[in-house]
């Protein structure tokens, strides 16, 4: 018994973390859980509704459409950014004065705040005065991201690729520059082609950092809010309304706290599930 009482001291040391996590994550999350199972009226009047909101959200066509848009967007940017990032990393110099120049250039887009990126592209892509919009139009393309869904998607994707490919580049570059010179010498002696070097040495050696790159890009793009919100505001119509934008519209625009809370939780679960799936699939070989 006495041993047990002396052990209680340990709680003191854990306390700061418990408090931090409680205020940071648990309490806000539980508030959301609280909203998600109740109907909210004015004057703080609540009625318990059980899983009604969850059922409603899961069956709503609006949610399905946003989720589909979100998945499409995330897939497209992963398909573009990962290979492009790897390709850029492979062509970057490995030594010499240009290394730091390239690294700084690559890091630049990552340093710009998200809403600034949105605002920049908003102006850059304006069809009448923006450099991009004007150029595309004068080249004969019918481009107007404020009116046409296709233009809007093109702009949102281009903006994300511009903003975030650098992250993939930096991670892939770290992976590729940690490969010992001897691997390249061995391949040279064998007479391996440059494609074989990429396929059988560089890519396998980059596997771990690429896993991290894919996970980071997946999570970030799945939660994307600020940039498309500033750029298109989710429009034209609903065509670039991704999950987080839709969520904010429901919660703050319509003030439907119940459905919004339920949607938040579902959204959270989807991200958690997909990340876990990605990670286990990609790490399957490593565990052998």
């Amino acid at each position: 018994m006495s041993r047990k009482t002396t052990n209680q001291k340990a709680w003191l040391f854990v306390l700061p973390v418990v408090v931090l996590v409680a205020f940071n994550a648990l309490i806000p999350l539980m508030t959301v859980v609280n909203y998600s199972v109740q109907e909210t009226f004015g004057n703080n009047v609540f009625f318990f509704e059980g899983v009604k909101w969850f059922e409603e959200v899961l069956h709503s066509e609006r949610f399905h459409a946003s989720l589909l848009r979100q998945l499409t967007f995330t897939s497209i940017i992963l398909i573009i950014e990962i290979p492009l990032g790897v390709a850029i990393a492979l062509t970057m110099p490995r030594k010499g004065p240009w290394v730091s120049v390239c690294l700084v250039l690559m890091a630049l887009p990552l340093l710009i705040p998200w809403n600034v990126v949105g605002a920049m592209w908003n102006i850059f892509a304006l069809p009448d005065i923006g450099l991009l919009g004007k150029t595309l139009n004068s080249m004969g393309f019918d481009y107007d991201y404020t009116q046409q869904p296709l233009s809007a998607w093109f702009t949102v994707i281009l903006m994300d690729v511009w903003h975030w490919t650098s992250l993939v580049v930096l991670l892939a570059y770290a992976g590729v520059s940690s490969i010992p010179e001897a691997y390249y010498q061995a391949a040279k002696i064998d007479g391996a082609s440059s494609w074989a070097i990429i396929r059988y040495i560089e890519l396998p050696k980059m596997k771990r950092v690429l896993t991290i790159a894919i996970l980071l890009r997946f999570m970030d793009s799945f939660m994307i809010y600020t940039e498309p919100f500033v750029l298109t505001g989710g429009g034209p119509g609903n065509t670039t309304t991704f999950l987080s934008i839709d969520l904010v519209k429901i919660a703050l625009g319509q003030f439907d706290l119940g459905p919004a809370a339920a949607m938040s939780l579902i959204y959270f679960m989807i991200i958690l599930l997909l990340c876990w799936l990605f990670y286990t699939l990609m790490m399957k070989d490593e565990e052998k």
């Binding site: 061995a186 040279k188 007479g191 050696k205």
Partner: protein, 355 residues
């Protein structure tokens, strides 16, 4: 089979990595490049492999000038200090990879891989991935890959350096058997004199980008051409000091002198440098050719069966290595016994005095 360096120089920017080098490796077999880190071993291997081009000079292999020929056209193979294998190939595919690149038919690849994996004891591991192997097994795989294509020239760049002691000994003992009946020239770079002696063959001693001596390993160990070669080929480093020969006596300082042996009688009087290997200085009195000298003990190291004592001689520190454990107090002045018949004498140009 022969490999010849003709006046080869290698400079990178303004730094000279290899000074004008002439080296002729005649009859194939096992050749060792012995030198410390940055002595130019790896640069020489890269030049031999064709991974690097010499700044000037020519490289001849089997009677052909191969100076500008790139690595993949030379039929060489190389094993590195790090364990280099294709990470997502099985051991079998790793060993087969050079043959696949040269588009050899599958049945022949199979039989060759089987044969070489038996030689290297890899047969039960053929379906594994390199990441599932121990360091020793990974290096065996790399060795197998180097052997499977029957290269004319096999280059080994400190292949055992990253292995732990037990595995290193095990693989080193096997090397002569592995290369025994192969018709190829082997060049093995190492920084350990004891490894060179164990492997035999021929040795080239390297110091700061120069080949100081080349010859049969045991011969150059016993008769280093100059002080530098002797230093490279001694671990712990050879003890040396200036001495004066006057008539029948060598004098190191007021306190230390010893008689000139009969075989050294032909040496003229004058100043020399004496070199004596640590294991020819003992803390125990021994046979007739021993001269006792006094030294102040600086540090002592005891391994299982050897005592290494660092002691002061004049203003220098010498090392003595003797069998058995002989505890000696640090700071004490004690007798050391020098086997003067094993002393090497170098003239003022640091060249060995021929006897």
């Amino acid at each position: 089979m022969s490999l010849e360096f003709k006046n080869i120089v290698k400079r990178v920017d303004s730094e000279t990595h290899i000074y004008a080098t002439d080296l002729k490796i005649e009859d194939g077999g096992f050749n060792i490049l012995l030198g410390t880190t940055l002595s130019g071993k790896t640069t020489l291997l890269h030049l031999m492999a064709g991974l690097d081009k010499p700044t000037s000079g020519e490289l001849w292999f089997n009677g052909k000038n191969v100076t500008g020929v790139p690595a993949q056209k030379r039929n060489v193979s190389m094993v590195h200090q790090q364990f280099i294998n294709y990470p997502n190939f099985t051991v079998f595919e790793n060993i087969a990879s050079p043959l696949r690149i040269s588009r050899m038919p599958s049945p022949e690849i199979n039989s060759r891989v089987q044969k070489v994996s038996e030689l290297l004891k890899l047969t039960p591991l053929l379906q594994r991935n390199p990441s599932e192997l121990s360091g020793g097994q990974q290096q065996r795989t790399a060795l197998a890959r180097a052997l499977v294509k029957d290269a004319d020239l096999v280059l080994l760049d400190e292949p055992l350096a990253n292995l732990d002691f037990k595995l290193r000994e095990e693989l080193r003992d096997e090397l002569p058997r592995i290369f025994g009946d192969r018709h190829c020239t082997v060049v093995y770079a190492t920084s350990e004199p004891s490894e060179a002696l164990l492997l035999g063959g021929h040795t080239a001693t390297l110091h700061e980008g120069r080949v100081t001596q080349f010859g049969e390993t045991s011969k150059i160990y016993r008769h280093p051409k100059d002080l530098q070669s002797a230093k490279v080929f001694s671990d712990p480093p050879i003890n040396s000091a200036k001495i004066e020969k006057q008539g029948g006596t060598f004098t190191l300082n007021e306190a230390i002198s010893w008689p000139v042996l009969e075989k050294h009688n032909t040496m003229r009087d004058g100043t020399y440098t004496v070199g004596i290997r640590p294991h020819h200085i003992s803390t125990l009195a021994g046979s007739e050719n021993m001269t006792s000298i006094k030294g102040k003990v600086v540090t002592t190291e005891f391994s299982g069966s050897e005592s290494t004592v660092h002691f002061g001689v004049g203003d220098q520190t010498w090392v003595s290595q003797s069998r058995g454990i002989h505890p000696i107090e640090i700071g004490a002045t004690t007798d050391f016994y020098l086997d003067i018949s094993r002393c090497l004498y170098f003239d003022t140009n640091n060249e060995l005095v021929s006897l």
